[in-house]
C-alpha cells in the first residue's frame, strides 16, 4: 500500500485514458459511474496482457499456459478475498455480475429454504436485479415477497412493514432478507449491519446487493455478518462481464448448484452427478478469465490509490453538487438520506429527464436518465424517472460546475 499523500486528482485522472475523449467536440464529463465506472489503464492492460501472454482455459490442461491462467485466476480470487475480508478464497464465486450473483442466490436459496407460505423480505429501493429473481423464486416455491417501505428521505421505514406489528420487522415465516447496501438511485447507504444482526437472531438468511457499495465503501463481509454478498466488477473499475458472489462457506456447501455444466462436477454418470467442491460447484463453464484477471488488477489498483481517500473525495463532490443543484429553480433532489455515496438523483418542475439528459449530452456531460431499474421506487416518489449524476474517484469540482452551467443552459432552452 502506498503511503497516504494528498489526493492527487490529476495523477488519478491520468490513469483513465477515456477521460481524454471528446463528446460532441467537448471534453467528456462522465457522471454515470453508478451504471458502470471507467477503467484505469492498469486494468485495460491487464486484460489485454492476459490474452497476449497466458490465454488458456483454467483448471483443465496440464500445459504451462493453463497452469499460468489458473494461477492468475486464483490470485485474483485471493485479492478479492482480502479486499472484502472473507475467511476463505473459496467463498468468492466468480459470476458475470451482480445480476447473475442475485439469480444464483435466489435460485439456490429458493431450492434450499423456501416452502409454501414462507416469506422473502426485500426493500422498496431495490434494483430490479434484487426484485425479479426473488419474485421468480417465490413463484416457484409458493412463497411471498414482502417489502420494507421507504421514507420520504429515501431510507428504510422498518416500523411500517405491511402485515407486521410496529417495530416488528420479521414475521414468523421470514426465511430470507435480501437488501441493497447502497441504493443505485438514491445513493442511500443503508444500515445493513444492524438489520443483518437482527435477522441472524431469528435464523434468517441474509443476502446483500453490494453493487453500488463495492467501489465506494470499505467492505468487510465478516464484520457485516451477511451470509451472501453480491457485486459487479465493472462498477468498481474492473472489466464488464465480471462479478462476485461471496458466500459463507457452511451455507455455500448446503446450497444446491444453479447452473450445470463443465468445471462444476466431480463425477458424472447418467444416473447421478456429484459436484465439485467450492467455489467450482457454482462456476459452471469457462469463466471470463481475462475479465477476472482485470478484476483482480482493479482491486489492487483501488487499494494502491487508497479507497478511503477516494470516498472522501467523492463525498466532497456530492456536497458541492447538492448545494449547487438546489440553487436551480424548481429542482428537487430525490433521496436526501443522511448517509449517502456520490449519487444524486433529481427532478426539475416541468422538465422531462429525457430532454435534460439529451441537452447535457450535447454539452459532453454523461448522466443517466430514467427509472434506473427501480420502477417501484419511482412509483413511491411519484415520478416517471429522474436525472442521476454519480461520481467516481476521477471526477472533479470543475466537472460538477460544468454540469451545473450546462444544466442552466438546458433549463433555459426547455422553459
Amino acid at each position: 500500500m502506498k503511503v497516504a499523500t494528498a489526493y492527487d486528482i490529476e495523477e488519478i485522472r491520468a490513469q483513465f485514458p477515456i477521460l481524454k475523449e471528446l463528446v460532441h467536440g467537448k471534453p467528456l464529463v462522465y457522471f454515470d459511474n453508478a451504471a458502470t465506472s471507467q477503467k484505469p489503464r492498469r486494468v485495460i492492460k491487464a486484460e489485454s496482457a492476459y490474452y497476449a501472454t497466458i490465454n488458456a482455459n483454467v483448471h483443465r490442461g496440464v500445459h504451462t499456459l493453463s497452469t499460468k491462467a489458473t494461477e492468475a485466476q486464483e490470485a485474483a480470487r485471493e485479492t478479492i478475498r482480502r479486499h472484502i475480508n472473507a475467511k476463505h478464497a473459496h467463498e468468492v464465486i466468480f459470476t458475470s455480475g451482480t445480476t447473475a450473483s442475485m439469480n444464483l442466490a435466489a435460485f439456490s436459496l429458493g431450492q434450499l429454504l423456501l416452502k409454501k407460505g414462507d416469506e422473502v423480505l426485500i426493500s422498496g429501493m431495490e434494483h430490479h436485479a434484487n426484485i425479479v429473481p426473488w419474485q421468480l423464486a417465490c413463484e416457484r416455491h409458493g412463497a411471498v415477497l414482502k417489502v420494507i417501505p421507504i421514507t420520504d428521505s429515501g431510507e428504510w421505514d422498518l416500523g411500517a412493514i405491511p402485515g407486521q406489528a410496529r417495530n416488528d420487522i420479521f414475521g414468523e415465516k421470514t426465511r430470507i432478507l435480501a437488501i441493497s447496501h447502497v441504493s443505485n438511485t438514491l445513493g442511500t447507504i443503508n444500515p445493513v449491519k444492524e438489520l443483518i444482526a437482527q435477522a441472524k437472531k431469528k435464523g434468517i438468511i441474509t443476502v446483500v446487493d453490494g453493487a453500488q457499495a463495492i467501489a465506494h465503501l470499505d467492505i468487510d463481509v465478516q464484520d457485516l455478518g451477511c451470509d451472501l454478498y453480491a457485486f459487479s466488477g465493472h462498477k468498481a473499475y474492473g472489466p464488464t462481464g465480471t462479478g462476485v458472489l461471496y458466500g459463507r462457506e457452511e451455507l455455500l456447501n448446503e446450497m444446491p448448484p444453479w447452473q450445470g455444466g463443465g468445471e462444476m462436477i466431480d463425477v458424472v454418470t447418467f444416473e447421478k452427478t456429484t459436484y465439485a467442491k467450492l467455489p467450482f460447484k457454482f462456476e459452471a463453464g469457462t469463466p471470463h478469465i481475462a475479465g477476472i484477471f482485470g478484476l483482480g488488477e482493479a482491486f489492487r489498483w483501488m487499494e494502491d490509490y487508497d479507497k478511503a481517500a477516494m470516498a472522501a473525495h467523492e463525498h466532497m463532490l456530492l456536497e458541492h453538487a447538492t448545494k449547487e443543484l438546489l440553487a436551480i429553480d424548481g429542482l428537487r433532489i430525490i433521496g436526501t438520506a443522511k448517509e449517502k455515496v456520490g449519487v444524486i438523483s433529481f427532478v426539475i418542475d416541468g422538465i422531462h429527464h429525457y430532454d435534460l439528459g439529451t441537452l447535457l449530452d450535447q454539452q459532453g456531460i454523461a448522466v443517466r436518465t430514467g427509472h434506473h431499474c427501480t420502477q417501484p421506487l419511482m412509483e413511491r416518489f411519484g415520478v416517471s424517472g429522474t436525472t442521476r449524476a454519480s461520481f467516481a474517484c476521477f471526477n472533479t469540482i470543475v466537472e460538477v460546475d460544468a454540469m451545473i452551467a450546462a444544466m442552466k443552459k438546458a433549463v433555459k432552452m426547455l422553459r
Binding site: 460532441h24 422531462h352 429527464h353 429525457y354 439529451t358 454539452q363 416517471s384 424517472g385 432552452m413 426547455l414
Partner: protein, 148 residues
C-alpha cells in the same frame, strides 16, 4: 402540387443546414414540436404508446382517401409526447411521412435524420426511441397496405 416525400426530407435538411451549433439545432427541433398535429385525447391510449422510448410517445394513424390519387389511400398521423425533444423528433417524422401512401412510407430512406445532425437519435439505444417511432409508422403502413 404537394411536395414529394423526398422533397420534404430535403426541405428539412436545408432548414437544419442553417444551424451551425447544437443549441440552435435543438431549439429548432423543440419549435417543430409545437407544430405537431396533436393526437386527439381519446387516442392517447396505451395501445398508441410507442414502445421503446424513455419518454412517452403516442402515435395514431388513420387511413384517408387521397384527394390527388383517384383510387389511393394515404395515412394521416397525429402524435404527442411528454418530452419536448421527443415531441420535436416525432414532429419531424410526421412532417415527412404524413398523408403519404403506405408504399411511399415503406420505401422511404431514413438517411435525412443523419444529414440534419440528429444521428445519435438513430442509434438502437432503447432510451431514445426514434427507431421505435419509425418502426411503428412502418408497421401502420404495412397494415394499411395489406387492407383492401
Amino acid at each position: 402540387m404537394t411536395m414529394s416525400l423526398a422533397q420534404s426530407q430535403q426541405e428539412l435538411i436545408d432548414e437544419f443546414a442553417m444551424f451551425t451549433d447544437w443549441q440552435d439545432r435543438y431549439e429548432h427541433l423543440i419549435e417543430l414540436g409545437k407544430d405537431l398535429p396533436l393526437i386527439a385525447p381519446k387516442h392517447k391510449t396505451d395501445d398508441n404508446l410507442v414502445r421503446g422510448c424513455q419518454s412517452r410517445v403516442w402515435l395514431n394513424a388513420e387511413q384517408r382517401a387521397s384527394t390527388s390519387l383517384s383510387d389511393g389511400t394515404i395515412i394521416h398521423f397525429t402524435a404527442d409526447s411528454d418530452a419536448m425533444i421527443t415531441k420535436g423528433i416525432v414532429a419531424l417524422l410526421v412532417r415527412v411521412y404524413n398523408d403519404r401512401t403506405p408504399q411511399e412510407i415503406l420505401g422511404a430512406s431514413t438517411e435525412f435524420i443523419d444529414r440534419i445532425g440528429l444521428r445519435e437519435h438513430l442509434s438502437p439505444n432503447r432510451a431514445n426511441g426514434l427507431s421505435a417511432m419509425l418502426d411503428q409508422m412502418k408497421r401502420y403502413a404495412l397494415a394499411y397496405s395489406s387492407k383492401p
